[in-house]
Structure formats: structure tokens, C-alpha cells
Amino acid sequence: MAVRGRYLRFPISYRIEHWVMVASFVTLAITGLAQKFAQTGIAIWLIGGLGGIETVRVIHRVAAIVLILEAVYHIGAIGYKLLVRRYGLDLMLTPQDLRNALQAFQYNMGWREDPPQQGRYTFEEKFEYFAIVWGTIVMAATGFILWNPIAATSTLPGEFVPAAKSVHSGEALLAVLAIIVWHMYHVHFRRFNRSMFTGYLPADVMEEEHPLELAEREHRAASETHRELPHVSARTYLGVYAVITVVVIAGLYAMATFERTAIETVPPSEESVTIYSPLHVDPQPIVVSFNGSMTSWDDGIGELLGVKCSFCHGGSTPLSKLNLSSYDTALLGGSSVPAIVPNDPENSGLIIEQEAGDHPVTLSAAELETLSAWIASGAPR
């Protein structure tokens, strides 16, 4: 089993699991923290670079699905080792781990001269493993609520949604910081541990970090312990596991498609108001009609001309010197043609001008007719 000078630590299946998880975790962390700290320059740059917030959210959810699938596989693999292969639970936290941690701290502080002697999985590794187990459960549960707030609030109180958001956001930051401080230090900075790349640890590292495992292996005791668990055949186990996996995948599919209106909402309703609704159009000229008989100047003609014409053709400086404000001056005419030629409306300037139609003040047809008739009848006073 052991190649000379090095010991197999992570078979290829472990390493694939690890890297799948690295990929999903990093993706989740980047796309998630960008949303948590959305106002920062780097988040803006990142979200813009990834194609906008909608794309970022899709990426985040895809990565979440990958992580959950990995977790489902991992549970199945653990169960297989436990029930079919009947391996011992090297990973389980024990009181010894707490003592080891305490001893390690004391050793580090110089209060003790001997470091803890640890087995296949050190307390540092167990802490990290269970932190991830915890984190994945918390993030999946709160993530489900955030993904499906309408479904969630059909049974849970509404406040669970913002609470889930707080937890999701806090746990994310905690997980990322823990990974940076703990994982990075122990496997990258303290000593670059290549076992996740190569699968093997050199003998000196085994001796320092996993002395008990080394001792066990040398006594060919391996890690196998006989436990009082029911023995399950591989066939049975895989059959059950396949069913569980199908159910979980169906559940995931449901989770991803459970509700649409939280994501693809109905567009906000447009205001049903006419934008252009003018109060009034351009003012129209005032129409005042004189429609009586008006047979003489004093019987209305004078008043008609007085109201409609004398504004300009009247007063002290009548326009065109035509003063229509009194009978005498009206008959006197203006500076050009005579305005009123009794008995001859066709040669009366007043009629000619009005019939041309472009005078600033235009008489109505009825008024013009009456006026014309008045002139034709000799323009009586």
C-alpha cells in the first residue's frame, strides 16, 4: 500500500470531490460576496465583468446546485464506506480531539513540550470538515428560503426571509474567513501540502502530522474496525442510494423551478394615465354675431361697426384714416377707397375688404349680408 517514503492519503475520488467543492465554494463565495458588498468598487467591477447581476445570480445558483449534489454524493460515499465496507469513522469528532486541540495550544504557547499525537484526521482537519458540513447545511437551508421566498412563506413566517438573508450573508463571510485563516495556513503556508494534488504525503509529514495513523499502518492494522452496525450488501446499498439520489435530484429540480415569480416577476404595472392630455388648444378668436335686422345706422349697424371695427378704425388715430365710430366719419371714408358708397355695396371698400377675407377682423357671412343690404338700401342713418 505504501510506496517507499510516501503514503497514500487521498485516493482520486476524494481529490475529485475536493476540487468540485473548491470550484463551487469559490464560485459561491465570489458571486455571493459581490452581492453582499454590492456597493464596493470591486463588486461593481466583478458583477459588470460577469455580465450583470442577473447572470451573477444564475451562476451563484448553479454553483449552489453543484455543491448540494457534491454533498449528496459525499453522504452516499460515507454511507457506503460505513455500511458496505464497514470502515471506521476516522472523521468523527471525539473528546480526544478537544484534548488534542488544548494540548496543541499549550504546546504552541510553550507550556508543554510534546505536541498532540494525532491519527488519520487531525483536530484541525476535523474542525474544518465539520465547519463545512455545518456551513453547507445552513447555506442550503437559508439559500432555499431566499431562492423560494414565496414557497417558504406559505408555511414559515415572513420574517424568516430577511432572517435567512442575514444568516446566509453572515455564514458566508464566516466560512470564507475561516477557510482563508485556517485552511490556507495549514495546507498552504505552514507547509505546502500536495496530497490533494498527488494523493500522497511524504513520510516526514506523516510522522509529524499523523503519527498514530503511521503507526497503525505500520502494524497493518489499517483503519478498519469492526463495529456493531448491520452489514449491507453493496447491491442493496447502491439500490437504496440510487433511489435517494433520484429523490434528491428531483427535489433540487423542484427547488430550482419551484416558483418563478420571485425571479421572473410580472413587470411593475405601468401607470394607466395618458401622458399627453392637454387642457386646452390654442385660443380661438372670439365669435360675436350680430344677427338682428339692423336696417339703419342707429338700428344696429352703428353698433356692429362700433364694436367690431372702431377699435382700430376709430378713436383719435383711426387706421387707414377710416373712422367707423360715427355715421358721419364712416361715410367720409378712409385714406384709400371710400368705405361706404350708398346704394353700391360692390364698390364700398368695407364690403370689398371683407369679401377678400383676409382682414384682421372678419365679419360673419350674415353680418356681411346685413351690412351689404344696408348699403344697398342707401345706408340710412
Binding site: I47, L173, H280, G306, F311, D358
Partner: protein, 502 residues
């Protein structure tokens, strides 16, 4: 990537100084509508309401007045300022200079007094004045053709002193003046002289701006042919005359949505005179300080209402509109949100996207909100929530992209916003589900509680959220600090071991 800068100016001094200068010949101003009434059965027309240069002191029927001998006249034309209060008629350039009476003995011959329009004797001159008029022309031969008469009697208003407004109003106050345009539209060319005299332009200096300042092509009588085909075209053409005196305001309109609409061929789009009127331009700012007058908010809102009457009616029912109408200086008029002169089209994705900042301009202002007991957390809590966060991200990354996340107005309404304490307010808990369901039709009873109602998390209202926040506020430094401590001690021990080995 930086947030797009948006400013939505209120009725700032500069903006309001940009009151349009249009003096429309077609008289966009109010016409004395009373005159439109016809009195059935009688042949009598109502007397014109407008005070006119032709009005006789007794306000009698014009026809009853002697016209051959003007009774009372003022000395001269352009030199005459606004009428003294006791004078029942306006002095006019039409008045006979020869018949001077007591007040100011200006000789008829001295028509070259400063301030008087230089003009050739005209058809306006009466028989009596014709002789002493300078450069007096021969009396026109009677029985000329009309064309001859027009050509012979053209008067040109040239020289440094064009005629003042009163000169033009002499005719244009007549309520019956009209003009037929090429389109066949008959438009009124009456100007409400009283309204003009009270307008900003009419109040300028001692005698107001002269009509010719805007009506530059009206420098002779008979007037030049109007080239505009329609009344609307005439109005639009006149906007250019505003630019001559108000270039800054005119330049502001370069980005204006109305201008853009007009450029796209929508002639309904507002030009200067549509808001500011042609002849009745209101004063909206203090002439000395440039600060908006208290009444200007309501005035400017009703300006917008001229074309956007439906929205205006909604607005006046809302909490902002009703406050503006009551004269509340804090409440926003249209321009406070939409800008003035450089109004942005509010139907764009971008306008909607940045609209929360418009609301925040006032609603995050603690001084202003304190008076109304309104929370100033509204913007921050919005941005902290899923909707607001998304909107903030869109603002920074995709400012022009349509999006489906609600902004303030989607829940609170835009023009008909009502107070949150009002029972029918969409923000009331009882109404909130309906509001949520507009976008999330499947939402059920508990769903609205997912929204923390613009309150920051606290143990009274949202204990779970507050607890979660507290837990991680403690847990993150505790855990990470603990791990860090281990790491630091481990490093320390390794260094010590290293030294020992050496």
C-alpha cells in the same frame, strides 16, 4: 462603473430665470371669454372687457363718441410711461400730439425727443396732426386702389427706438383681431394688454418690454406675411425668440425630453410658450436673490398640467400635490423630481432606475423630514433590502437596462403618493399583500412580512433578523479570532523549534 450622476433640479434660481420670452401674436394668453357669449334676442354685443387705448373715460359705447376731435390727450407717444392711476384711459402714441393739454408741454414738432420712436408719418396720423408732423407727407389721393394704399402707407419701425408695447396694443387689444393661416386655421391675434402689463415682461423697467423684442419680424405695418403654416408651427417658431434673451435656459433644453420629442416630429411637445405663456409670463423667482417664490411651486406644477392634465389631477390628490397647492415650500412640484428645461423622459429604464435617489433627495434629509415625523431610513433600508440592492447594482453596472425590480414609486405611487399613515396607503400592512401580488401573484399572507417595512432590523419588530445579525456579529470575530490565535501561536512555536534545531 461609477454611479451615474443624476441631479434633478428643483425650481432653482437659474432654472426659473429661464422663463420664456415668447410674445405670441396669436395670443396664447387668456382671452376675455366672457365676450364669447352671445346674447340671444338682442343685437347687442357685450362691451369689451379689456381696457384699451381707445376706451373713453365714461366707458360708453364707442359709436356714441365723437371721434373727430379727441378731447383729452397726452403729449407724446413713446415718452409716455405707464398710465397714472387716476387716468381712466391709457395714453397712447395714437394721441394727437398737436392737441396737447396741461400735463407736459411737449411741442408737437419736437418729435425727436429721446425715447420716441423714429418713424415716418403714417396712416396712424390724424388729419389734424398731419400738417405739423415732421416730414409730413402729402395727403393720400382718395380713390386709390387698395394695393396702392397699402404700399403708400407702409410704416417701418426702424431706428433705435421701436414702438413700445402700448403702440401695438392699440390695435392688438381688440378682442376681434384674427388671422387666417395657410392651414385654414383662424387664430386670434389679440393680446390681453392688462395681463401683459402685469407679466414679468410687461413689468420690465418702466414700461415693459416692447413687443418687437420678440416679434422681430413685425417691424412694419402692414405686417410681414406670417410664414408659419399652422398655429402650432407659429408657436414653435417663436421659441427661438426666447433664446435671444434667455440663452442659458435655452441651452439647458438641449437634453430635454420635450425637445427630443419635437426633434422626432412630435409637434405636441412643449416649447417655451406652452409652459410660460406668450404674453403672461409669470415671475417665479425673486428678482434680487433668484430664490423661488413660495407660490412658484404651485404655479409651475399647473404649467405642466397644461399638457399633462391627467397626471396633474392625480398629483393634486396625492400628498405632495395637495401640500404644494397649500403653499408648503418643502413639498415637491413636478420640476423638483423631473427637472426643469432639461427634463428627462420618465418612461426610460434609466429614469426609473435612478428614481429612488430622487425620492431620497428629500426623504433622506433629516432636517426636512423631522418636521413631518417621517423616517429618514427609507432609502438606506430600501438599498439594504433585496429590491434596493438589486437596483443599486443595476445603477452601477447596467444603467440603461430594463429591469423588473420595484423602485419607490412601484409601491408608493408616483404622482398620487399618499401618506403612509393613510388607511388606503399601499404601505399599510393590510394593503401590502395586494401590492406584493402585483409582481408576485403567488404571494400569500405571510409573504409581506418578508419586507421589514423600511425599519432597520431590531429586536422589537424583527427579532429573528436582529438575532441572526447579532449572532454573526459575535461569531465571526470570535471564530476567526480564535482560529487566528491558534495560527499565530503555531507560527510562534515553529519559529522557536527552528531556532532550537539550529
Amino acid at each position: 462603473m461609477l454611479p451615474k450622476s443624476r441631479t434633478r433640479n428643483g425650481l432653482s434660481a437659474q432654472r426659473m430665470l429661464g422663463i420664456g420670452l415668447i410674445l405670441l401674436g396669436c395670443g396664447l394668453g387668456l382671452l376675455p371669454r366672457a365676450l364669447a357669449q352671445e346674447q340671444p334676442g338682442t343685437d347687442v354685443t357685450p362691451a369689451p372687457r379689456i381696457t384699451s387705448v381707445f376706451d373713453r373715460p365714461a366707458q360708453a359705447q364707442p359709436a356714441a363718441q365723437p371721434t373727430t376731435a379727441p378731447s383729452a390727450t397726452e403729449p407724446s407717444d413713446a415718452a409716455s410711461a405707464s398710465p397714472a392711476p387716476q387716468v381712466t384711459r391709457y395714453t397712447s402714441i395714437f394721441d394727437n400730439p398737436a392737441a396737447t393739454s396741461a400735463p407736459a408741454q411737449v411741442p408737437a414738432a419736437s418729435t425727436a425727443v429721446p425715447g420716441q420712436p423714429t418713424r415716418v408719418p403714417s396712416i396712424f396720423d390724424t388729419q389734424a396732426t398731419q400738417a405739423p408732423a415732421p416730414g409730413g407727407q402729402a395727403a393720400p389721393t382718395p380713390y386709390q386702389s387698395l394695393l396702392d394704399a397699402v404700399q403708400a402707407d407702409v410704416i417701418r419701425f426702424e431706428g433705435e427706438e421701436p414702438p413700445d408695447a402700448e403702440y401695438c396694443l392699440g390695435c392688438h387689444e381688440s378682442p376681434y383681431l384674427q388671422m387666417t393661416l395657410a392651414s385654414g386655421e383662424v387664430i386670434s391675434v389679440t393680446v390681453d394688454g392688462e395681463a401683459y402689463r402685469e407679466s414679468v415682461h410687461g413689468q420690465h423697467g418702466t414700461e415693459g418690454y416692447k413687443c418687437i423684442r420678440c416679434h422681430t419680424d413685425m417691424n412694419e405695418y402692414p405686417h410681414e406675411e406670417v410664414t408659419a403654416q399652422t398655429a402650432r408651427e407659429l408657436t414653435i417658431d417663436f421659441s427661438n425668440s426666447c433664446a435671444r434673451c434667455h440663452p442659458a435656459s435655452f441651452d439647458e433644453t438641449a437634453d430635454d425630453t420635450h425637445v427630443a420629442l419635437m426633434a422626432n416630429g412630435n409637434t405636441n411637445a412643449a416649447v417655451c410658450a406652452d409652459c410660460h405663456s406668450g404674453h403672461e409670463v409669470e415671475r417665479l423667482t425673486d428678482p434680487l436673490t433668484g430664490v423661488s417664490l413660495p407660490e412658484s411651486a404651485a404655479a409651475s406644477a399647473s404649467m405642466c398640467g397644461q399638457c399633462h392634465s391627467e397626471i396633474y389631477n392625480q398629483y393634486t390628490t396625492g400628498v405632495h400635490g395637495s401640500a404644494v397647492l397649500e403653499g408648503n415650500p418643502d413639498a415637491p412640484a413636478c420640476a423638483d423630481c423631473h427637472g426643469v428645461h432639461s427634463t428627462e423622459g420618465p418612461s426610460t429604464a434609466s429614469f426609473r432606475l435612478f428614481s429612488p435617489q430622487i425620492c431620497a433627495k428629500c426623504h433622506a434629509d433629516e432636517t426636512m423630514m423631522a418636521e413631518y415625523d417621517i423616517s429618514t431610513n427609507v432609502f438606506d433600508t430600501y438599498v439594504a433590502d433585496f429590491h434596493g440592492t438589486t437596483v443599486a447594482i443595476f445603477q452601477n453596472t447596467a444603467p440603461d437596462q430594463p429591469f423588473n425590480v420595484p423602485v419607490c414609486v412601484d409601491c408608493h405611487g408616483a404622482h398620487n403618493t399618499i401618506g403612509a399613515s393613510n388607511a388606503s396607503s399601499p404601505g399599510m400592512k393590510e394593503n401590502l399583500l395586494t401590492v406584493c401580488q402585483r409582481c408576485h401573484p403567488d404571494a400569500t399572507t405571510n409573504f409581506p412580512d418578508a419586507w421589514m417595512s423600511h425599519y432597520p432590523p431590531n429586536f422589537q419588530r424583527t427579532p429573528l433578523v436582529a438575532l441572526a445579525n447579532l449572532a454573526y456579529t459575535v461569531a465571526i470575530p470570535a471564530v476567526v479570532g480564535g482560529l487566528g490565535l491558534f495560527v499565530v501561536t503555531d507560527i510562534r512555536r515553529r519559529r522557536t523549534n527552528g531556532r532550537k534545531d539550529q
